[in-house]
Symmetry: C3
Subunit: 159 residues, 3 copies
Amino acid sequence: MTYAEQVAIEEIKRLFARRIRAMDTKDWVLYDSCHTLDATVDSFGTLPEEQRPAGSIARGKDQILAMIKKVVDGKVKVTTVHHAHMPEIEITSPTTAKGIWAMEDLLWWQNGDVEEHLRGFGHYHETYEKIDGAWLIKSRVLTRLRVNSTPDFQSYYYK
Amino acid sequence: MTYAEQVAIEEIKRLFARRIRAMDTKDWVLYDSCHTLDATVDSFGTLPEEQRPAGSIARGKDQILAMIKKVVDGKVKVTTVHHAHMPEIEITSPTTAKGIWAMEDLLWWQNGDVEEHLRGFGHYHETYEKIDGAWLIKSRVLTRLRVNSTPDFQSYYYK
Amino acid sequence: MTYAEQVAIEEIKRLFARRIRAMDTKDWVLYDSCHTLDATVDSFGTLPEEQRPAGSIARGKDQILAMIKKVVDGKVKVTTVHHAHMPEIEITSPTTAKGIWAMEDLLWWQNGDVEEHLRGFGHYHETYEKIDGAWLIKSRVLTRLRVNSTPDFQSYYYK
């Protein structure tokens, strides 16, 4: 492992952390600064194509931002907590890298008198690209080990 | 990022981990060794001044130690688990740094026949200082995304 | 901290992450590649000898693999999520190291019509050895802060 790779790994960990913190604090300007222009996000990496909600893959940073805002900061305000762990970052060239993170997410929202809740577990599989000296997220696929939720959570989430 | 900064980041991560481990294992000698003499801790960083419990900001390492011992290892023994994630550490000079960590804490204590429980989520915002060759925690503010607890937990915790 | 130590710490973090990911995704070939031939695992480090399930200490990588497969991927399929945090890695020689990680584990399995569940918290205490250029896990002791489970979980788990 070269010194430059060591630095890149730490920078990528920090980028990853910033993206999650931006999401959970709903800082959408910061969130938007974390992805490449052409980034793609697939939050249902474990589901076969035919079981996915329509438009479940976001293509381009504008779609990525629009999707996350719609889901957690639209008509319904969702409190979100995302924690990720034990990164395995591999630098594949001076300007490209990939990483796997174990993750947990918790979401709460008010559905009339009922508080809906989701708690999920899985892995983020990401790729990164260094552009103009800064590492950015180029792709993300979320695979799941387990998802628990209150009965009506999904009806909202997938609509 | 210089090599010295890389080393400092790893040392600060380890310091942070040691403080949390000391708290959860109730090793108060180790805990006390983690803060600067003049350290400050604000565990209610999200609350406006008027809603805070009296004396909620600890000033100086003696107050910090006294407060945590009173809360979790005084008349009432509280089992605590603190997990923190995705550090964003920034070295601001050869002897100063700051960091943000996503966190979760879980507390359990026996209230007569009832087991009280708290589970919270948020961020630690810390600053660090290097004194005599060792990094120490100089300040900590805890902001919250969400706190769940059994009904009587707060009455104890805030008293 | 030398540069070689910095690299070793990152390599050990990645090794640790790989072992956990292999366990939770039930990739037993990958799992088996993470331990030394003579590795030992004690998953009940907090219990006195007389309270432990028989054979609770696995000796050698074959026993380690057999034990974990029996517990989570035998007759009963257990969904597992292990998350570990805040590593304190210390390089004790060019080819040996030790580390402490805070941890949480979640297990679910179907017991007839009932879903059993365990959620535990504690610390992994590991040692590592570098063999033929690759870091491997040489020993692991799990100590516990707290374990919650459904009533019948233990009867299965310890049998």
